[in-house]
C-alpha cells in the first residue's frame, strides 16, 4: 500500500491534504500532522506512522522545511531504517506526484519526482543568477 504522512508547522499539512482532496478527489492514503497548533507532543504520531508501515508498503514522510523542528523530529526517528523515505521542503507537486505515479516508489523514482517538483518552484520569467556560497572556515574567522 502507498502511505504518505505530511508533517508541518501549523496547518500546512492538513491544508495540503485538503488541496489534494480537491485536486485528486480523495486523500485517504494521506495522514496529516499539524504541529504546534496546540501544546501536544506530536512525536508519538510520527513514531506510530513509522511503526505501522510494513515492508510491502511504499511509505514516504513529507516535512515542510529543511532544518525546521518538525524535520528534525522526523529525522531523529530514522525512518529510513524502517523502509520509510523522508522528503523535506514539501510542496503540492511532489506529494501529488508521489501519490499518483503509476511507478513503484523507490529511492530512485522519488529522487526523480523531487527533482521534477523542485523545478516547479521558480520565479516566473527566470533570470540566470548564481547563488553565492558563504560558508565559514573557523568560527571566529
Amino acid at each position: 500500500m502507498r502511505r504518505i504522512l505530511l508533517a508541518s508547522h501549523g496547518h500546512f499539512a492538513s491544508g495540503l491534504k485538503s488541496s489534494i482532496d480537491i485536486l485528486a478527489g480523495e486523500s485517504s492514503g494521506v495522514t496529516a500532522i499539524d504541529a504546534y497548533v496546540d501544546n501536544s507532543d506530536y512525536t508519538a504520531a510520527i513514531r506510530e506512522f513509522i511503526d505501522s508501515c510494513t515492508p510491502n508498503d511504499e511509505a514516504v514522510i513529507f516535512t515542510d522545511i529543511l532544518g525546521g523542528s518538525v524535520f528534525q523530529k522526523v529525522a531523529l526517528e530514522q525512518p529510513e531504517h524502517h523502509g520509510v523515505m523522508h522528503v523535506t521542503g514539501m510542496n503540492l507537486a511532489v506529494v501529488m506526484e508521489c501519490l499518483l505515479t503509476p511507478e513503484k516508489l523507490t529511492k530512485e523514482s522519488v529522487d526523480e519526482i523531487c527533482a521534477a517538483a523542485a523545478s516547479q518552484l521558480r520565479r516566473v520569467q527566470v533570470l540566470n543568477e548564481e547563488a553565492t556560497d558563504n560558508s565559514g572556515e573557523g568560527f571566529f574567522s
Binding site: 507532543d41 524535520f71 529525522a75 565559514g136 571566529f140
Partner: protein
Amino acid sequence: MIEQLRVDDRLIHGQVALMWSKALNTRGIIVANDGAAKDKMVASTLKMACPSSQHLLIKSVNDAEEVINDSRSKAMPIFVLTNCVKDALALVESCSGMIKEVNIANVGRFVNSEKTRVMPNVELTPEEVEAARELCKRGIPVFHQVTPNDAKTGVETALEDIR
C-alpha cells in the same frame, strides 16, 4: 558579545534560523548542549538546520563557557542557544559580562515530567522554575519573546504567580 542567549528546546529551528539570526544580526551560533555535543545524529541535524550565514559551534555547556569567554568573542556578535533554563543559568554565572540578555522562548514541550505553565510555550519543572528565579537576579534582561515580531514579556513578573 553574546547578543542573546535563547532558551529553546528545539535549539536551531525555523524561528531561530529564519528570523532571529537576522534580527540579532549575528555572525555565529553556539549551541551549548551536552546531548547535542555527544550525539552525532543530533549534531548533524542541527548543522542542516543552521543558516549558511552563521558559523556554528556545537559544544557541551562546559566547553561553550570557554568559547564565550574567549577574547575573540568580544568583537563578534554571537547567538547562543540552550535547551533548558538550568544550562542558561550556568552560562550566565560563568560568563559574566559577556551575555547581553536571556530569552526564555520555548521550553518544556518535550518534557514529560511534572511541569507548570509559566507563559505560552514555556512549561517549567520545579527545578527549572528555581533556575529561572536565579537567572532574574543576575542583572541582565530576562524575557520571553518567541519571534522578533512578538512583544517581550518579563519573566520575573510571570514567575510571581507560580507556587
